[in-house]
Amino acid sequence: MSFINYASREINCKIVYYGPGLCGKTTNLQYVYQKTAPDAKGKMISLATETERTLFFDFLPLALGEIRGFKTRFHLYTVPGQVFYDASRKLILKGVDGVVFVADSQEERIDANIESLDNLRFNLKEQGYDLDKLPYVIQYNKRDLPGAMPVEEMRRDLNPTNVLEYEACATTGEGVFETLKAIAKLILIDLKKGK
């Protein structure tokens, strides 16, 4: 649910990066943070455990620029991917405007991907959202690893509705901004349609 402020002429939107544990959600945000000009970003917050696993969420505010005199700001969040953090994941989906599903391309993680995607759909439904009606893109991450599954197979399992999809390697940054731009664009188009 975006927030439009006519007084300060701002529009704020919330993007959530979802996916199984260790798929690279935080790495996506870290890359965006590193590569964004200081005046366009706020502080990145990571609520993580001592072993750098996300405990609650990562948060990164980004200012994209102006549209028709309105400053557009995107708040990027990740969820904790580990299965047992489900209660926290639900909370972060509140008020979401767009979702990026980050899939781990390693063959042994395909079940974890499918489980996480089911969990996303279920948790959204609980909040009254329908994934098929939300701005939503998929990122196939870790394409650089030798055990990466062919994209066609991942598509069959994870993208039956044929939403926009991107191949990525979040550690080197490949595909990271393409994914972000795609979801931001879908959200803005959705906003335009919404009224």
């Binding site: 649910m1 975006s2 927030f3 439009i4 402020n5 006519y6 007084a7 300060s8 529009i11 704020n12 919330k14 706020g42 502080k43 917050i45 609520l47 609650f56 969420f57 948060f59 505010p61 994209l64 620029g65 549209i67 028709r68 005199g69 309105f70 557009t72 708040h75 209660a87 926290s88 639900k90 909370l91 972060i92 509140k94 008020g95 909040q127 009254g128 959202y129 009606k133 731009k181 931001a184 664009k185 803005l188 188009i189 906003l191 335009k192 919404g194 009224k195």
Partner: protein
């Protein structure tokens, strides 16, 4: 969509700021923020320059969401007031009208009792303003007279953001 869009207009923005400015004085507080439950900062008064307001808003909302989850687990609807005590500064966080979060930062020049008392009074006023705001947005939507700035944006406008 489950939630209506949150919209803020000049008039109500001004009214809100009048209320929280007064609360700032009456409660002898350092800073006061209003945050949407989804983590968007609505307004802030006082010594806001010293703080990373965006992060504060996001973490406050996360905090309220997490304690709300705890409340449900023990059979409560929500915990409507949270208090964090620090060595110098303290945070008084409360839910206004079920939807908005009011954050009051204060030090030893004030007291928890005073803050609670003043917050209670201001909450009712804020609640009324937010009700009015919600109704206004609904009315505009019903009449179809929305002055929504994005209705006329073009694909080029969106592309330009990323160039």
């Amino acid at each position: 969509m489950s939630n209506p869009q949150m919209v803020m207009y000049e008039e109500e923005f001004h009214e809100i700021n009048v209320v929280i400015e007064r609360l700032l004085q009456e409660a002898n507080a350092k800073v006061i923020f209003l945050v949407d439950k989804n983590g968007q900062l609505i307004s802030g008064v006082g010594d806001t320059e010293r703080f990373d307001t965006t992060s504060l808003a996001s973490l406050t909302a996360g905090n309220i969401a997490a304690t709300g989850g705890l409340a449900k687990l023990i059979g409560e609807k929500e915990f409507s007031i949270l208090f964090h005590e620090g060595e110098k500064d303290n945070l008084h966080i409360s839910i206004v009208g079920g939807r908005v979060i009011l954050v009051v930062l204060f030090d030893s020049r004030s007291s928890l009792g005073l803050v609670r008392l003043r917050v209670k009074k201001s909450s009712d006023e804020l609640s009324a303003i937010f009700d009015k705001l919600l109704k206004k947005a609904e009315d505009k939507e019903k009449k179809g007279t929305s002055d929504f700035p994005f209705a006329e944006i073009t694909d080029d406008d969106i592309d330009n953001l990323f160039s």
